[in-house]
Amino acid sequence: MTIQVSRRGLLKGGAVTLAGGSLGALGFGGLEPAMAAAVRPFKLAQMRETRNTCPYCSVACGIILYSLGDKSKNARSAVMHVEGDPDHPINRGTLCPKGSALLDFIQAETRTKYPLHREAGAKEFKRVSWEFAFERIARLMKEDRDKNFVAKNGDLTVNRWTTMGFLGASATSNETAWLTYKTVRSMGALVFDNQARV
């Protein structure tokens, strides 16, 4: 009887357990229970590595986020380390000082997690709903556009709106960058950087 353990067997991930294996065949059958007993008191620690893109600048370096805990077991996962992605063609595992300090960015107490609003004259930021935030941004943009939109420069149609600026993020995909461009440019806005320039 022969058992195929490599190639096709491995690709299926179904390597068959051979009776006894090398240990038993060479007369070391007693070692397996000894090894099992030695590790019995220990628990497996789980870690995940997740690819992401550094959000700082338009170089968009690849990063690996190391987190403890496993989603499937309802454990609370927490990022505990950030490193450059050695497989990423742009940065080959390196990061600038800002990128190296991303862990503090993730765990910062002052990190913005929801829309905040400070009314004119008020001292404190107040938490508001997304609906409120969108509504307010849209209203301010509309008012500003109605007031400052330049449709004509003499006889020439220009349709430009230069009093509002828009900043995109570096970690966006091509599709997001395309969508951002179309949305912002269609309003006539010229002051625009979606960080897709490299």
Binding site: L11, T17, V39, F42, M47
Partner: protein
């Protein structure tokens, strides 16, 4: 302070690095400090390259000797000490046979280069069973290994297996060698397979070391681009042009080839990869488990502990295999010296 940064032309010719002198020379004396004006800009040494080398071919002269040292260091006070000691003896024999063969006049390649080129052209690994069948290849390695092997206090079963192999006919030995090469282990001859695999490693690492590494191309996920063997473990390496990149170590020829991190070595999925370890024993030895195909492979952090050897530490961390098997994962790596 301005003077501190001023550079005068270097008096010494470039290439002589005062910091690189033997530390033994400077011991006891005041260590010579490198002067600022002696520093030469050398952007090539920053270590960033456009891409990492795809394959690192084995260096047989170091491979077996280092593995023997690692096994000898692991064996004492280890629950698997007896088996590690046996493997240390095998690795020592491998190292001595390798040294003896390297000292000989190099034998001409008996296999036509055209055959290898044809295999490469069609996306197959250049080394095949024909590399084993050549005269002076596998059978000579096995003969040398069995002659050099000192089994010492190993159990009777190991002595019997070596004796059985010594008395076997050359055709039978070659047949067994080809079977192990192709990953088909005859269950009733498992013990002999360990010695056969050790001879295969000798023969194939020698052949792989002579390959042109620039000609090698990816064959498939989890298949060695030099000999078509299965990986024994995954290594995070610390070589200068490939710092922290992941390489898979071939179980047979000892070549290492690049495989993107956080991607299953058996099915290529990157969806549900987790890393698990027994932190109380070692944080440098993990298993990479794939939730898609439910396989795992040992994941050794060689950049944290350069002494880690894929074959030796795969055996020494067998406790991790036992633990992860309880969660229903199958091993995606193959260690022919320790088939479980």
């Amino acid at each position: 302070m301005a003077r501190f940064f001023k550079r005068t032309p270097a008096a010494e010719p470039a290439g002589q690095d005062p910091a690189a002198q033997d530390p033994a020379d400077t011991a006891g004396k005041t260590p010579k400090r490198q002067k600022l004006h002696e520093l030469q800009p050398d952007p090539d040494r920053i270590g960033i390259a456009g891409s990492v080398p795809f394959v690192q071919l084995p260096v047989p002269a170091d491979l077996f000797a280092n593995r023997a040292l690692r096994l000898q260091r692991l064996a004492p006070d280890h629950p698997m000490g007896g088996y590690l000691d046996l493997l240390a003896r095998i690795a020592t024999a491998q190292a001595s046979v390798q040294a003896a063969r390297a000292g000989q006049v190099p034998q001409p390649e008996t296999e036509p280069n055209a055959d290898r080129a044809l295999r490469l052209e069609h996306g197959m690994p250049p080394l095949s069973r024909h590399s084993l069948e050549a005269p002076g290849a596998f059978l000579a390695c096995l003969d040398g290994l069995l002659a050099a092997l000192d089994l010492g206090p190993a159990p009777q079963a190991a002595h019997d297996a070596a004796a059985a192999l010594r008395s076997a006919s050359p055709e039978d030995r070659l047949d067994l060698g080809v079977q192990v090469f192709e990953g088909a282990f005859p269950v009733e001859r498992m013990a002999e397979c360990v010695f056969v695999a050790a001879a295969l490693q000798l023969c194939l690492s020698e052949a792989a070391a002579r390959l042109d590494r620039s000609a090698l191309k990816p064959v498939a996920d989890g298949v060695c681009p030099a000999c078509g063997g299965a990986p024994v473990a995954s290594l995070i390496v610390a070589w200068t042009p490939a710092d922290k990149a992941r390489y898979l170590a071939c179980s047979l020829c000892g070549s290492q080839w690049n495989h993107v991190r956080i991607r299953c070595t058996a099915c290529g999925s990157g969806e549900a990869i987790t890393y698990q370890s027994l932190d109380e024993l070692s944080k440098d030895i993990q298993v990479e488990t794939c939730g898609t195909c439910h396989s795992y492979i040992k994941h050794l952090h060689q950049h944290r502990d350069p002494a880690l050897d894929p074959v030796a530490d795969d055996v020494a961390s067998y406790g991790l295999d036992l633990k992860i098997a309880e969660d229903g994962f199958h091993k995606a790596g193959l260690n022919p010296l320790f088939v479980t």
